[in-house]
C-alpha cells in the first residue's frame, strides 16, 4: 500500500471528526424533559379553547389559521357561538377546510363565550409566562418560532 501512513492518519482524523458529536456529548446527562407550567389563570380556567391533545399537536396550525382569519378575513372571534350552540362558520368566504377540521376540537369555555383570536391578548392572557410555558418545549425541541419578533410577550413576573 502506497502512502499508508498518510491514508491511515487521514482516516483516523476523519473518523474522529465524524464521531465528534457522539463522544462530545458522552457522559453528559440527557437534557431534562420539558415541563411547561400552567399559569394560575390557565389552571383556574381548567380547559383551553381547543382540546389539550389538539393544542399539543396543532397549536401552530391554530395560530396560523387565526392570523389568516383575523388579518385577511377580518374575523376576529372564534367560531364558538355564545351559549354553546352548534358551531357555525361565520364570515368565511373561501372555505377554509382546515379550520372546519379544527372546529371539531373546540371546547366550550366555562361561560360558552367567544374568544378573540389573538396570541397576545387571548393565549398569553391565560398563559402569562412565555418562559415557563412556550419556551419549555420550544427550547427542548430547538425550535425558535418568529412569533415574538413582532408579537409582544407578557412581562415575566419574578
Amino acid at each position: 500500500m502506497y502512502d499508508s501512513g498518510k491514508i491511515i492518519t487521514g482516516l483516523v482524523i476523519a473518523i474522529v471528526i465524524l464521531t465528534f458529536p457522539f463522544w462530545w456529548n458522552m457522559g453528559s446527562a440527557m437534557p431534562p424533559a420539558p415541563d411547561p407550567k400552567l399559569a394560575d389563570k390557565a389552571k383556574a380556567a381548567g380547559q383551553c379553547i381547543y382540546s389539550k391533545a389538539y393544542m399539543k399537536t396543532s397549536h401552530m396550525q391554530v395560530l396560523d389559521d387565526w392570523r389568516n382569519m383575523v388579518v385577511r378575513d377580518g374575523v376576529r372571534y372564534t367560531l364558538l357561538q355564545p351559549g354553546g350552540d352548534p358551531i357555525e362558520m361565520q364570515v368565511i368566504k373561501e372555505g377554509r377546510s382546515r379550520l372546519m377540521a379544527a372546529t371539531n376540537h373546540l371546547q366550550l369555555g366555562a361561560k360558552g363565550s367567544q374568544y378573540e383570536m389573538s396570541l397576545q391578548n387571548t393565549c398569553m392572557d391565560c398563559h402569562s409566562s412565555k418562559k415557563e410555558f412556550c419556551d419549555q418545549c420550544h427550547n427542548y425541541a430547538s425550535v425558535s418560532p418568529f412569533c415574538w419578533d413582532c408579537h409582544v410577550e407578557p412581562e415575566e413576573k419574578k
Binding site: G74, R76, Q120, N121, F146, C150, V152
Partner: protein
C-alpha cells in the same frame, strides 16, 4: 252589509296606491335608519367604504400632536432619532404625520401659487388615504398589502418581504420601512398590539383592530374638537357624507386617479 263594486274599487285603489308608495316610504325611512346605524356599535362595525374627513379649520397644532401621539403609542410606532436626538428622517417610521400645504397638496399649490398666509403657515395632517384604487396593492408581489371589502388597505405583516415596491407605488409617502429592529425606539410598548420587525413596511390601518370592537380610530378619538370625522362613505346618512354635502373638500393628488378616501376641508 253589501260589498258592491264601488267599495271593491275603493279598496283596490287604496291597496294599489299603498303598494306603490312602499318603496318610496322605505327609501325615506331607510335613510334615517341608516343614519342611526352609521354610529359605531360595540361588536363588529362594518362598512362598505370607510372614509375620513379632516376639518383643517378646526384642527389645531395641539390636536395634531395629540392625534399623532395617540396613534403612534397605540400601534407601537417607533420614534427613531439620531444620536443628537433629532428625528432621523432617513429611517423615520410614521403612520400619521403633519406637513405644510404645498407638500401635502402639491397639485393644488401648483395650480394656485398664491396661498393665503394662514394656509401657507398651517400644518396639515397626512395619513394613508385607503385609496379606492390603491397602487400599493397592485404592486405588492406577495399580496401582503390588500384591500378589504370595507375599503381599508390592510397589511399582513406575516407576508411582507420588505421589497418596498409599495413604497415606490404610494404617491403619498404613507409607508415606512423598518431599516432596523424598531423595538429599542418604542418608548412604551403597548402590550395589546404587536410591534414590527426589521425588514417590513408599515402604515396606517385605519385602526382596523379598534373598528372591530366598535371603537373609532385612535386619532379620531384623540381630537376632541371633532375635527376628524370618520364614517361610512357609502351611506348617505353618515357623518362623513353629511360633511361632504355641506363643504367643498379637496383630496391629495386627485389627478393620479387613486381615489383617496381621506377628505380635507380647507
Amino acid at each position: 252589509m253589501g260589498f258592491d263594486r264601488r267599495d271593491f274599487l275603493k279598496i283596490a285603489g287604496i291597496t294599489a296606491v299603498s303598494l306603490g308608495a312602499k318603496p318610496a316610504l322605505d327609501a325615506v325611512l331607510g335613510d334615517t335608519a341608516q343614519a342611526e346605524t352609521q354610529a359605531l356599535r360595540p361588536g363588529v362595525s362594518k362598512a362598505e367604504t370607510w372614509a375620513m374627513v379632516i376639518d383643517t379649520r378646526k384642527l389645531t397644532e395641539e390636536d395634531i400632536h395629540k392625534a399623532i401621539e395617540a396613534c403612534h403609542s397605540e400601534h407601537n410606532v417607533p420614534d427613531i432619532r439620531l444620536p443628537n436626538h433629532e428625528v432621523n428622517i432617513k429611517e423615520e417610521v410614521k403612520w400619521l404625520w403633519a406637513d405644510q400645504f404645498d407638500h401635502v397638496f402639491p397639485d393644488h399649490s401648483q395650480a394656485f401659487p398664491y396661498l393665503s398666509e394662514e394656509v401657507e403657515e398651517k400644518q396639515f395632517l397626512a395619513l394613508c388615504n385607503h385609496c379606492t384604487e390603491p397602487p400599493c396593492v397592485r404592486v405588492c408581489p406577495t399580496k401582503a398589502t390588500f384591500k378589504r371589502p370595507d375599503g381599508i388597505v390592510m397589511m399582513d405583516m406575516h407576508r411582507c418581504i420588505g421589497c418596498r415596491f409599495c413604497m415606490a407605488g404610494c404617491p403619498y409617502g404613507s409607508r415606512s420601512f423598518n431599516w432596523g429592529d424598531p423595538r429599542p425606539w418604542i418608548r412604551k410598548v403597548n402590550p395589546k398590539y404587536p410591534t414590527r420587525m426589521k425588514g417590513v413596511v408599515e402604515k396606517c390601518n385605519f385602526c382596523a383592530e379598534r373598528l372591530a370592537k366598535g371603537q373609532f380610530p385612535a386619532c379620531v378619538e384623540a381630537v376632541e374638537s371633532g375635527a376628524l370625522v370618520f364614517g361610512d362613505l357609502s351611506q348617505p346618512g353618515s357623518a362623513v357624507r353629511d360633511l361632504l354635502r355641506k363643504h367643498n373638500v379637496i383630496r391629495r393628488k386627485p389627478s393620479l386617479g387613486t381615489g383617496p378616501n381621506v377628505y380635507y376641508i380647507i
